[in-house]
Each structure stands twice: as C-alpha cells, then as structure tokens.
Symmetry: D2
Subunit: 139 residues, 4 copies
C-alpha cells in the first residue's frame, strides 16, 4: 500500500530556466515524508523531534529526474516502503503530474536518537504500520 500526498510548484521552487531547481524537490520530498509520518504512521515530526528526540535522517538517495516541472504544476507524491530493517527503512518515491512522471527516487531513512547521534530501533507502533504498508520490491 502506498501513501499519497500532493504539493504545488511554487515560485520559490523554480530556477532561472523556469523549472524546479532540484534541491527544492528534496524539500518537497521531505515534506511528503513528514505528511506520511503524521497522517499514516501515527508519529508527527513535531512529536518525534520535540518530545522523543528522534530524527529520521536520509542516509542514501538515488534519484532519476524524468521530466521537468514548471511553476504552478500540481504534483502527486507517492511513497511506498520497500524494505524495513531494525533501524532503517527503504522507500520508493514517485512524483507525477498531469500523467507524466517527474522523478523517481529510492531513499534510505534511519531512525536516529538525536541526542546520542546513533541509530535506534523504530518505535514499535511505527514499525507495525511500516510492516502493514510494506510492498517488497519485485525483481
């Protein structure tokens, strides 16, 4: 099962060529991961960071930019967990808009104790939800 959220290309996202400057895609991507944790995994970034001192830094990222996005484009972002480890999770992400894929990414997130700066196991409730949503990668 995949999680879906939407976003819109804003003036702040585009470059001198009128298309999304790629670092801005990662701000959108991080926002989508925030929505996913908040709306679907039951743990908001606010609760994570401020109450539990947990973070989910990105440790690996593979992205293919498939077609450019312009100012005003409505984009759909789909997140699918592909592999779940004790302290990490691999997710697939696709940005689409008007039937065109814009980018495909595979991201490895790690559950981190922010104070101790080391990986820690996923909280049980998050792990359970992740397992429910898991769609193992086909070969």
């Amino acid at each position: 099962m995949s999680f879906e959220t939407g976003t819109q290309v804003r003036f702040a996202h585009v470059d001198a060529a009128g298309i999304v400057f790629y670092p801005r895609y990662f701000e959108m991507l991080n926002g989508a991961v925030e929505d996913w944790f908040d709306q679907s995994l039951g743990l908001s970034f606010k609760a994570m960071h401020m109450d539990r001192h947990i973070g989910v830094p990105t440790v690996k990222l593979e992205v293919t930019f498939l077609s450019p996005s312009q100012l005003g484009d409505d984009l759909l972002i789909r997140i699918t967990p592909r592999q779940i480890g004790r302290t990490s999770c691999t997710i697939d992400i696709i940005f689409t808009g008007e039937g065109r894929d814009r980018l495909k990414a595979q991201v490895v997130l790690v559950c981190m104790d922010v104070d101790a700066r080391r990986a820690v196991p996923w909280p049980d409730a998050v792990r359970e939800k992740l397992m429910e949503q898991l769609v193992p990668q086909e070969d």
Copy 2:
C-alpha cells in the same frame, strides 16, 4: 476584505533552535501572495510569468516578528491591501497560530514587465479586484 490562506511549519523551515528561520517566513509569505493572486485576484503566478511576462517583485518590506513558530504549527496568513497605486500595491500581512500573532508585515509590491525590467500598470482585471478588496489604513 482580507484574503486568508493557511500553511504549516515544516522541518525545512526551522533552525537549530527549533523555531522558524526568518528567511523561511518570506517563502511562506510569497506562497501566500501566490495563493492570493491565483484564488482571489484571478491571475495565477504561472499565467503572469509564463504567458504575460509580468512579475510582482517586492520593493519594500517592514516586518515585526512577534512570537516564534515551531515545527508542526499551523499558521493562518491574512493579506489586506491598504493602498493601490498605478503600478504598485501596499499590503498588510499577519501570521497567526493558536491565537498568537507570529509576525506582522507591510509589503510594497510592484507590477513589473519582466523582459523590460520596468514597472507597468496593473492589468485592469487585477486592479478592479484589488480596489474591491481595499481596506484603507486607519490612522
């Protein structure tokens, strides 16, 4: 009459102290101005920039930051046009959240021919809408 739109404080907005880094407020503010033009003044930034080669750069800005905003805060942004010139417009902007004002700003926007890099009169349809929404500043 004021225009209202909402936004949420994202991980990308906060600094090492866990509160909004002030340049990020201006990305939110610009996003609110985009919403206003698109939803209320009848001219999207996309149509403006890409079809008509018009921009609305900010030429003056006065801001007072009243209270900090944290990760996850839902903010309401209210825009009120205060003065309308041939090529410019002065607007008041307030960010609030949970009953607390976060910042108050006064911004002067100018209607600019992007190619010629000079101020041009507001398109008639925009000017009309601006006049309808005008709330002259009280002394």
Copy 3:
C-alpha cells in the same frame, strides 16, 4: 566603523525572472551577520549556539530593495551597528555591487537564551566590541 563581507549571487538565489528571489537575500544577510560575529565580534555562531546556547534572532526588519541582482553578481555587504541596548542591537545593512546599491536594511537583533526562550544581556566581550563599532544614526 563598519564590517564588510562579500558574497556572490548563485543559481540557488535567482528566480524565474533571473534576479535574486528576495527571501534568498535574507539568507545572504544572515550569512553576513555570521561572518560579522565570527570575524569581528569574536563569537562564532557555532560557539554561540552549541557551547553557550545563545541565539540572535531578528525581531524587526525594514528593507528597501533598490535595484535587482543577477546570477554571478559579486555583492559587498556592509554592516554598521547604530544602537545598542542591554539585550538588543540595531544594525544598518547595505548590499552594493558594481557601484549600485541593491538593498538597504535596518535590522534589530536580540540576544536570546535558546533554552529559556527569553532575551538576555549581551556577553560582555561582545558588548565591548559592539560599542567600539557603534556609529550612532545621524538625524
């Protein structure tokens, strides 16, 4: 006495019209304030935030954008302290490039205890340096 530092307009700073998107000016401005604290006031942002848990949030900002800046422009940023309070400081900032003023700003910074979230007096050593550099505003 004023503090001067330089920066360059990067691809990340410009918008669809090919000129600096104004929230990016505030990232540059904040970087110049970091340089000022580090190189001239004897207290780096790193030492401030990480060792002493002090921050210097901006509480007030007045900016006039005088002329646009383009990709590749070398900008000089000049900072002049105008007024020093027990816990605050008012500074004037000018961005220039190729003899043209780009923006003038007046900014009020406050010395803040990051943990307690309240204003605290400037550290003595910083206060001393600020007093040395003070150029009271002419009327």
Copy 4:
C-alpha cells in the same frame, strides 16, 4: 585531475537537530559545480544562462551520506569527471571536513538548450576541458 572548492556550513543549512538538512547539501553541491564551470571549465553559469541560453540540469543523482556536518564546519568539495558523453557528463563528488568524508555522490549532468528544452552537445571549449580532467572510473 579533480577540481576542489570550499564552503562553510551556515546557520541557513542546519536543521532542528543542529546538522545539515540534506537538501542544503545540494545547494552547496550546485554552488561547487558553478565554481567548477567558472574557474576550471571556462564557462560561468552567468554566461551560460544569460548569453548562451544553455543550462546543465542534473538528471541522475546517487548520494550516500557518510557522517553529519555541523554549524561552522569547513567543508572541502572535490569534483572528478568520470565519463563524458556527447551531451552529458558523469561526475563524482566528495564532501570532506576535518579528515572525515561527509558524503559521496555521483551526478549526471546534461547540457541543455534552455529555450528548446532539449539536450545539446557540449560547447567544444567545455568538452576539451572536460576531456583533460577526465579520470575514468576504475572497476
């Protein structure tokens, strides 16, 4: 032969956990690519975009984040071209600081006609420099 340039972790780069928010790394990376084109390949982004209407969008990106970077860290960025096609170029990028690797990336850039939105061959002078600097990937 590799190109090297330096940067510093700024307040604008770090997140609520006090370490670089990863989209900011890509702003630094893009800045390093700008330095490389300007200082080493003989074609500034300014000349490219404004005079020749050429851009070099990123079409593929693989990154491993090896260790976190903190406010104030001085980082060295090393760029090595690995493969040169008619319209594209694959480069390796390493960020290091105080002897620790922070991230390793492989990036595919494409030479694009900004107006026509399609790939075009590298300008001869750029291609020549790229060939001089090429360090073919070892197996």
